[in-house]
């Protein structure tokens, strides 16, 4: 466990190796370095995890300080790493899923020009993400936070010859910046009021120094949540994530589904003590995220781009996680984060496999009937779809149901949240099965040219799919709720991290309604989901001809939803355009006239002054000596007279 500092540093070494010498390495060397370093990280993470298990539950928090980074007066930030159940789960998910996606990329990117560059970025991302989750203070976490943002930007714009890709990269970067701004302000506010950026110090001192529900803690948590909103693509800062699908599919799977976008959830969970002190913030979190979940799900309904459907689904599922946090069920949020990482990564990789097979085609309307051609991809994607839809016995069912139950029963929850959550779950099932039916069932709608290239992906891609499929099934069982005869082991494991927050919020572990209520709610959810699946089957498989009619049957609503509520256009109109115009105005008037004029004027003045002063420098040694003498006389005279 003393080796935890190596976990982020090994991929960093891989980044440096590939980044500096990648051009001269052959592809096998590059991918050995890239995958190898991540594998080492994963093994170290496993080692750390089991090391943690060997400890008593109360003492499962290990800090390892590598060196003092910014010692400056009262401000002190270390490069230090914190290993506790929460970060242990995160590093396992990040390095594990990350490793699988690295392996998958070896196949997916095999013929790409920027092979070395791609793996360099991926390794840098792994290092940043692991720093983010392992950091023991806000500042180091911010380093990782910005690092993953940078990698996200680099990887979205990976195919930089494509205008849309670079635009999407910029969009992601700029939108994220808004959130990061809030995050940074939140850190500063915390340091200002508490005097430390160190997690354990902050969380120890916050309950004593800040008033429960007071303005400062509310403001700080809201600012931190702003950061989470940006990074985790919640309303209103979600707009970058769908565009981020311009990046290579493994990137979408790794960064924009499984790991980076969940950083916000992780951060909120990490700061659970603060959030529990600010009920107002919790309400905001719950409402915003539940709205996001529902809203993104509705957009997802009628998208035709296979990756966009998944993107909106991701936004929606992230909303779910935040709902859990908003109702103070952080454990459930992290649980869903983990299962989601499995099945959403699987879905994206599967979609990537499909796209790969279809020679880059992403429009579902030109697919269909791929089931027999891509059997492995189909099977694994079906497993993932079942999981995300919340079909019992699959992992998604347990985590999603846990969230819904908490939304209903938690002191911070309400039946209304449950209803919206239920609707969202139904919509999720609907669009996911729409995706499955359109892609794998029905008649083929692709041309012969595509058909001639159609092939199942190589082993290097399908094996990670299968592993993820297995995880998507069994991943839920570690958190089997008590109502289903499980031990809720996952929540027990995480409990030490959230105990303090729970204490503040006066939550009793395992309290709540009777199991009977839980069963009823569970059944209702399953029933609704199954109903929605059949609806999807009705319109997209059995009577595929009706689908267009069905979609247009919603009239104006369909059009609005199809166009994503015109949010991008709205942002363009009310934010981007005025900003551009205002900037132009400032540039032409203020910048050129006033600022440039000021500096040019200052330079001119200095020049004139210099021209007049340089006459003093005659080059005549004797006059220098004369001035020297005068100065000496003056000083001596002054000393004499002032005595």
């Amino acid at each position: 466990m003393e080796l935890i500092w190596l976990i982020p540093l090994v991929p960093l070494a891989g980044f440096l190796l590939n980044g500096l010498f990648g051009k001269s390495f052959s592809k096998p060397v590059i991918n050995t370095i890239a995958c190898g370093t991540v594998a080492v990280s994963f093994l170290l993470s496993l080692n750390a995890f089991f090391g943690l298990l060997r400890l008593a539950p109360e003492s499962r928090s290990v800090e390892y300080i590598l060196f003092s980074w910014i010692p400056s007066g009262s401000f002190n930030a270390d490069v230090g790493f914190l290993l506790d159940p929460l970060s242990a789960v995160m590093i396992l998910v990040v390095s594990g899923v990350g490793f699988l996606i690295h392996v998958y990329s070896v196949g997916y990117m095999a013929h790409d020009e920027g092979y070395a560059r791609f793996f360099t970025y991926l390794n840098l991302f792994m290092a940043s993400m692991l720093i983010l989750v392992l950091a023991n203070n806000f500042v180091l976490m911010y380093v990782g936070w910005e690092g993953v943002g940078l990698c996200s930007y680099l990887l979205i714009g990976f195919w930089y010859e494509k205008r849309s890709a670079t635009d999407a990269g910029k969009k992601a970067f700029i939108v994220n910046r808004i959130g990061d701004f809030g995050f940074a302000l939140g850190i500063m506010l915390l340091f200002w009021t508490i005097g430390s950026v160190h997690f354990s110090t902050v969380f120890d001192l916050a309950p004593q120094q800040l008033a429960y529900g007071g303005g400062i803690v509310t403001a700080a948590t809201l600012l931190l949540f702003l950061g989470a909103v940006g990074k985790s693509a919640q309303v209103p800062l979600y707009v970058w994530l769908p565009d981020a699908m311009e990046g290579p599919t493994p990137v979408s799977a790794l960064i924009h589904a499984a790991t980076m976008v969940t950083a916000g959830v992780y951060m909120v969970a990490r700061c659970n003590v603060l959030y529990m002190m600010a009920p107002t913030t919790l309400l905001v979190v719950a409402v915003v995220s539940m709205f996001t979940a529902f809203y993104a799900a509705t957009i997802g309904l009628f998208q035709n781009d296979i990756k966009r459907v998944l993107a909106y689904s991701t936004i929606s599922q992230l909303g779910y996680m935040f709902v859990a946090c908003g109702v103070a069920a952080f454990g459930a949020g992290i649980f869903h984060l983990m299962t989601h990482a499995f099945f959403k990564a699987l879905l994206f990789l599967g979609a990537g496999s499909v796209i790969h097979a279809m020679s880059g085609e992403q429009d579902m309307r030109r697919m269909g009937g791929l089931k027999s051609k891509l059997p492995v991809t189909y099977t694994t994607m079906l497993v993932a779809t079942l999981a995300i839809s919340g079909i019992p016995l699959f992992s998604g069912f347990f985590s999603k149901d846990e969230i819904l139950w908490q939304a209903f029963s938690s002191p911070f929850g309400s039946p209304l949240l449950w209803v919206v959550g239920l609707l969202t779950a139904g919509l999720t099932a609907f669009y996911m099965f729409r995706l499955i039916y359109l892609t794998f069932f029905g008649q083929r709608r692709y041309d012969d040219h595509v058909a001639s290239h159609l092939h199942e992906s190589p082993k290097v891609m399908t094996v990670p799919l299968m592993i993820l499929a297995v995880l998507s099934v069994i991943g839920g069982y570690i958190g089997l709720p008590k109502a289903l005869l499980g031990g809720a082991w996952f929540e027990h494991f995480l409990h030490p991290v959230f105990a303090k927050g729970a204490e503040i919020g006066k939550l009793a572990e395992g309290a709540g309604e009777s199991h009977a209520t839980e069963y009823v709610l569970m059944l209702a959810a399953v029933a609704f989901v199954v109903l929605m699946i059949f609806t999807a089957k009705r319109y997209y498989l059995d009577h595929a001809k009706d689908s267009e009619q069905f979609e247009h049957g919603f009239g104006g609503l369909y059009k609005v939803v199809y166009n994503k509520y015109y949010i991008d256009e709205l942002y363009d109109k009310i934010i981007v355009n005025p900003l551009v115009k205002g900037s132009n105005l400032l540039w032409q008037k203020f910048d050129v006239l006033i600022i440039d004029g000021f500096f040019n004027g200052a330079a001119w003045l200095a020049g004139q002054w210099a021209i007049s002063m340089r006459k003093l420098q005659t080059g005549m040694v004797r006059s220098y000596a004369f001035v020297f003498l005068g100065g000496a006389i003056f000083v001596i005279g002054y000393l004499i007279l002032s005595r």
């Binding site: 340089r614 420098q617 005659t618 080059g619 005549m620 040694v621 004797r622 000596a625 004369f626 003498l629």
Partner: protein, 100 residues
């Protein structure tokens, strides 16, 4: 017994003479000699103080000053030689390129 003040006055006069020489001489070599005069005036004051205080520190100081003077003469004179070789003049007023 000659009082200390007398020696200091002599030193002061010689120093001033050296100062005037530095300012007025056009010949670089004369300027150098004037600087040596000033150094020597300082030496005299040092020795006088040393005698007055009964401490040998002043003697050591003079020793150091002589070293500096020797080093200065060596380097300075070689500069003069280089200068003369390039400009064919030892007039300090003609060495005035080091200006704006």
């Amino acid at each position: 017994m000659v009082p200390l003040e007398y020696y200091l006055i002599v030193a002061g006069i010689i120093f001033t003479i050296g100062m005037i020489g530095v300012i007025f001489a056009r010949n670089i070599i004369i300027i150098f000699m004037a600087i040596e005069l000033m150094l020597n005036a300082a030496n005299l004051a040092m020795i006088a103080f040393s005698r007055n205080l009964g401490s040998m520190g002043g003697h050591v100081m003079v020793f150091m000053i002589m070293t500096v003077a020797a080093a200065e003469a060596a380097v300075g004179l070689s500069i003069i030689i280089a200068l003369f070789r390039n400009r064919d003049s030892a007039n300090i007023d003609e060495v005035n390129l080091m200006k704006w």
